[in-house]
């Protein structure tokens, strides 16, 4: 296990009390807390180097540009991108996927084509494809999941028989914690002639990710779930795909030359970064990556898996509790219900003990329909969580059972 006692001191927010109790933050799949190093990096950027990037002919602007581009290099290294030009800064996973749908998708998907997603995808990896398919008259095919919460490989195979233009799936499910066999799925998709989009929102913060090893074409990252500021994120792509794609947002920075009636485009990745970018977010993301690399991503995932195993074991001992998702191949995400207590009531009761969990559909309504529940409670872990947090979670769930009279005796 990680030295959480030391790590916790790096996170100012963890010193605050919640309803008079130690803050037990277990909603990391929604967003992570931020270490002092990230907060300081943002303040330092504004205090020392702030200017608009890529255009100033003065020292300060060069410094700002250097900081921004150094962040790009950090992201490229972190996920082993094909090239630093293959890292496009975005507001996060949602924008990254919309970028692919709105550019590659609009250029390559036409009437009668098929786009494949899975029933465990987050709405951000479903809705952009729905919009694209509706616009183009294409078919959106949703691959089913198995009863234990994995992508149904037989159905995945059937979906590929339509020779889809594009296959999208999450590396790690935000609702179930399932770690999908990304390399295998991508190999199958490629054999069927599809381009692949991997939603990396829940994998980048928690696993060692190597986009070249899994072999995908597009990989989407959110910074705010991995210690970085909200509004930070990236699309990682094969440079040759980005070269061939039309631009996304028109505006400054993304152009090479602008005539009265047409324009030519800047080089990648700038072609996709119209307007003044969120430099503070990029700088904060670089600091977050530095922090995670110092701990080591293998250590991060091992720590979370241990917490998840313990939480599943302890929660399962409580009468009435059902834990969802597979028993193995899972990240630090533990979805559960407790008898007929609605997850929102659970979350309210847990909050009184300072335990923050998510309750609801987790932006995965198709998945909730398949699980046959309207909502689940979800505890999700990160580097600053420890066994004390699991004790607090388990005790608070027991208390909820007592309030609602679910528990025997």
């Amino acid at each position: 296990m990680l030295d959480t006692r030391r790590i916790r001191t790096d996170f100012p927010i963890l010193a605050r009390k919640e309803n008079g109790q130690r803050l037990v933050y277990l909603d990391n799949a929604a967003t992570s807390q931020k270490p002092r190093k990230v907060l300081d990096a943002v303040v330092h950027y504004y205090s020392e180097h702030n200017a608009n990037v890529h255009r100033g002919a003065y020292a300060l602007a060069v410094e700002a540009t250097d900081a921004y581009e150094a962040a790009r290099t950090a992201v490229a290294r972190f996920v082993n991108a094909w090239a630093r030009e293959g890292v496009v800064f975005t507001r996060g996973t949602t924008e990254s996927i919309n970028l692919v749908a709105g550019t590659w998708g609009r250029a390559n998907v036409s009437r009668g084509d098929t786009v494949v997603v899975t029933a465990m995808d987050h709405h951000s990896n479903i809705v952009p494809w729905q919009i694209l398919c509706q616009e183009k008259g294409a078919t959106l095919r949703m691959v089913e999941i198995t009863t234990d919460g994995r992508i149904d490989l037989a159905d995945f195979g059937r979906a590929l028989e339509a020779r889809p233009k594009l296959v999208a799936f999450p590396y790690v499910s935000n609702s179930l914690g399932t770690v999908n066999p990304a390399a295998q799925l991508i190999k199958l998709a490629h054999a069927a002639g599809a381009v692949t989009v991997v939603d990396g929102a829940q994998s980048s913060p928690h696993l060692r990710v190597d986009v070249q090893a899994i072999g995908c074409d597009f990989y989407a990252v959110s910074g705010h779930k991995m210690l970085a500021p909200m509004g930070s994120g990236a699309l990682i792509a094969k440079p040759e795909l980005l070269e061939a794609m039309p631009p996304y947002h028109g505006g400054g920075e993304m152009i090479e030359r602008v005539w009265d009636d047409h324009s030519s485009w800047n080089k990648i990745p700038h072609k996709f970064e119209g307007g003044t970018p969120n430099v503070e977010a990029a700088v904060g993301l670089a600091a977050a990556i530095g922090y995670l690399e110092q701990i080591g991503m293998d250590e991060v995932s091992e720590h979370e898996q241990q917490l998840a195993r313990l939480a599943i074991e302890r929660l399962s001992q409580i009468e009435g509790v059902t834990v969802y998702g597979p028993r193995d191949h899972r990240a630090g995400v533990v979805p559960f219900t407790c008898g007929d207590i609605h997850p929102h009531d659970l979350a309210t009761i847990l909050d009184r003990d300072g335990v923050c969990i998510r309750a609801g559909h987790h932006c995965t309504q198709p998945l909730m329909r398949r699980l046959g529940v309207a909502a689940t409670a979800r505890a999700s872990f990160y580097i600053y969580n420890d066994v004390d947090d699991i004790d607090a979670l388990v005790n608070a769930v027991r208390k909820a059972g007592e309030v609602f009279g679910v528990l025997a005796s």
Partner: protein, 155 residues
């Protein structure tokens, strides 16, 4: 624990477990659907207004799809149906106003509805308590538009 006890009062837990008027009303001449997209709460409300001049609530029922109602929203719907059944449309609207005022920090609503005064201390749950009442308001206004907690400005 005491404030949790204020929120989950026995009457609320009772109505959550055994909701009253929890039925589809075949004789309904007004219907409304309410939802809270944030938490997935959904309610179908059925109202039978008196055939004479249509100013009296003769019968009322509600349904929530399996698992889609938290304790607060379900108990609130249940207690609401008890409170307004047999009452005039005008009285029901007055109760709605009193209920809303209570949750906004005002005086307690009359009768058993005061059980929801504890919700005031839980801002994230006020919409749960209000959901059924907004559906009732829509049904009485004969509005075809489904109400959601994200559309009403003063939910």
């Amino acid at each position: 624990m005491s404030d949790l006890g204020d929120l989950y009062q026995q009457v609320i837990l009772d109505h959550n477990r055994n909701p009253r008027n929890f039925k589809r009303l075949e004789s309904a001449n007004r219907k409304a659907e309410g939802s809270n997209p944030l938490c997935g709460d959904r309610i179908q409300l059925y109202v039978q207004l008196d055939g004479g001049d249509g100013t009296m609530i003769r019968d009322i029922g509600f349904q929530m799809p399996q698992g889609s109602g938290c304790a607060i929203s379900k108990a609130s719907a249940s207690l609401m149906t008890e409170a307004v059944k047999g009452k005039s449309v005008r009285d029901a609207e007055t109760m709605f106003q009193a209920f809303r005022d209570m949750l906004a920090g005002g005086a307690n609503a009359p009768g058993k509805l005061a059980a929801f005064s504890g919700v005031r201390a839980f801002p994230s749950r006020i919409k749960c308590a209000n959901l059924a009442w907004h559906a009732l308001h829509a049904a009485l206004q004969n509005s075809a538009e489904p109400v959601t907690t994200e559309s009403a400005k003063d939910f």
